[in-house]
Symmetry: C2
Subunit: 201 residues, 2 copies
C-alpha cells in the first residue's frame, strides 16, 4: 500500500519527470493541484496538450511558432539582408527583448560538440547555406554562447560560409554591463581586451 | 506581439501559478513539454484532472483518499483506541513512514492563527469530539508543529478535550536525531531540557 492515494502517487511521479522538479516540489505541486481553482487545472492540462499540437518550428528560421512561416520571417518591415544565427529558439526571445536587432534569425538547433555526439550535420547549417543562396543576405551575425563549443561552432560556420562572400560577424564578448573588473574572470577580461574599440573623439 | 507563440505564452503563465515555479522554471518546463515524449504529456494532463476528480478527503479522519473511508480508517488491524491529531493530510505520510504509530489519525486542517483569520471553528475539532464520543478512544496524541501556533492549538485542544476523560499527549520536542548540541537553537534546547526523561537502570 502506497502512502498517497494511487492517482496522486502517479501524478507526483509524472511531475517529478519535469526539469528542475524534485520529489518534494512534485508533491507540493500535486497537492496544490488538488486544492486550487478547478478551472486553472483544466486550463493547464488543456494548454499542455494544445501547445504540443499547435507550436511548431518555423520552416524557414526554426523558431517556435504557431504560424508558418513565423511572425518574424513573414514581417516585411524587418531587414532581411542581415541574419542572426542562434543556438536555440529561446535565444531569439532574449535578443528580441533588447529591441536592438531588426534583422531575421536562423536557429542552428545546437552547438558542435563531439563529446555529446553533435556533429555539424546535426545542425541546421545546410538550411542556412540555402538561405544565403536564395535570399539576399549581406551579413550573418553569429550569436552563439561564449564557451568552447560556441567558439568552435562559430569558427566552423565562419569558415564554411567564407565561399559565399557574405560578411560574417560575431557578437562581442567582454565585461557585462554593470560589472566591475574585479568580478570578471580572466578569460572574459582577456576577450574584453582583445575586443577593445577605439573611442570616437 | 508576444515573443513566444501565444499558446506557449499562456502555458508558461499557467505553469507560473504553481507553487515554487518562477517565470524561468515555467519557461523551461513549457519548452520541455514541447519536446518530450508525447505520452508523458498526455498522462500528466490526464492525471492532473483525474487526481482532482478521484482524490477526496476521508469523511472520518480527513486524510487524502480515493476510497471512503480511507485505507487507514477501514483497517481493522490498527489500534482504534489511540488517535493521532495532525495539521495536514501529508503529515500522516511522514508519520506512517516511521512505521512506529499503529493507531488512527485525525486531520485538523490547519492551526489556530488569529492573524491569518483561522479560528478554532475553522478546524475539524467538532469532528474530533464526535469521534471521541462515538468511538472507543483512550488516547489523543497531538502531533502539531513545534511553533507558536502549533503550541497554541495543542493547548486549546487539550483544554477543550479535558471534559471527555481521555488521555491527551503531545509528541516530544527536543534535539533532532543526529544533531549535536552546538546546532540546536535555544528554544529547542530548553524544550529538550524540560522534556528530559529518566533513564531506566
Amino acid at each position: 500500500m502506497g502512502l498517497l492515494p494511487e492517482t496522486l502517487e502517479r501524478l507526483v511521479s509524472q511531475l517529478n519527470k519535469l526539469p528542475g522538479i524534485g520529489t518534494r516540489s512534485a508533491e507540493r505541486i500535486a497537492l496544490y493541484l488538488l486544492h486550487c481553482n478547478s478551472n486553472d487545472v483544466k486550463q493547464l492540462a488543456e494548454l499542455m496538450l494544445a501547445a504540443r499540437e499547435r507550436v511548431r518550428h518555423c520552416s524557414i528560421c526554426g523558431a517556435l511558432t504557431e504560424t508558418d512561416p513565423c511572425l518574424i520571417c513573414s514581417d516585411d518591415r524587418r531587414d532581411s539582408s542581415i541574419i542572426c544565427v542562434v543556438e536555440k529558439p529561446t535565444d531569439i526571445i532574449n535578443i528580441e527583448k533588447t529591441g536592438v536587432f531588426k534583422g531575421k534569425y536562423h536557429v542552428l538547433g545546437g552547438k558542435i560538440s563531439p563529446l555529446s555526439g553533435i556533429e555539424p550535420e546535426d545542425l541546421r547549417i545546410v538550411e542556412l547555406e540555402k538561405r544565403i543562396n536564395q535570399e539576399n543576405i549581406k551579413e550573418v551575425v553569429l550569436a552563439l554562447a561564449a564557451d568552447v563549443e560556441g567558439d568552435a561552432t562559430s569558427f566552423y560556420i565562419a569558415k564554411r560560409l567564407a565561399q559565399y562572400g557574405v560578411k560574417i560577424s560575431r557578437i562581442a564578448h567582454g565585461i557585462p554591463a554593470g560589472g566591475g573588473l574585479e568580478y570578471a574572470d580572466q578569460v572574459t577580461l582577456s576577450k574584453a581586451l582583445e575586443g577593445r574599440r577605439e573611442i570616437d573623439k
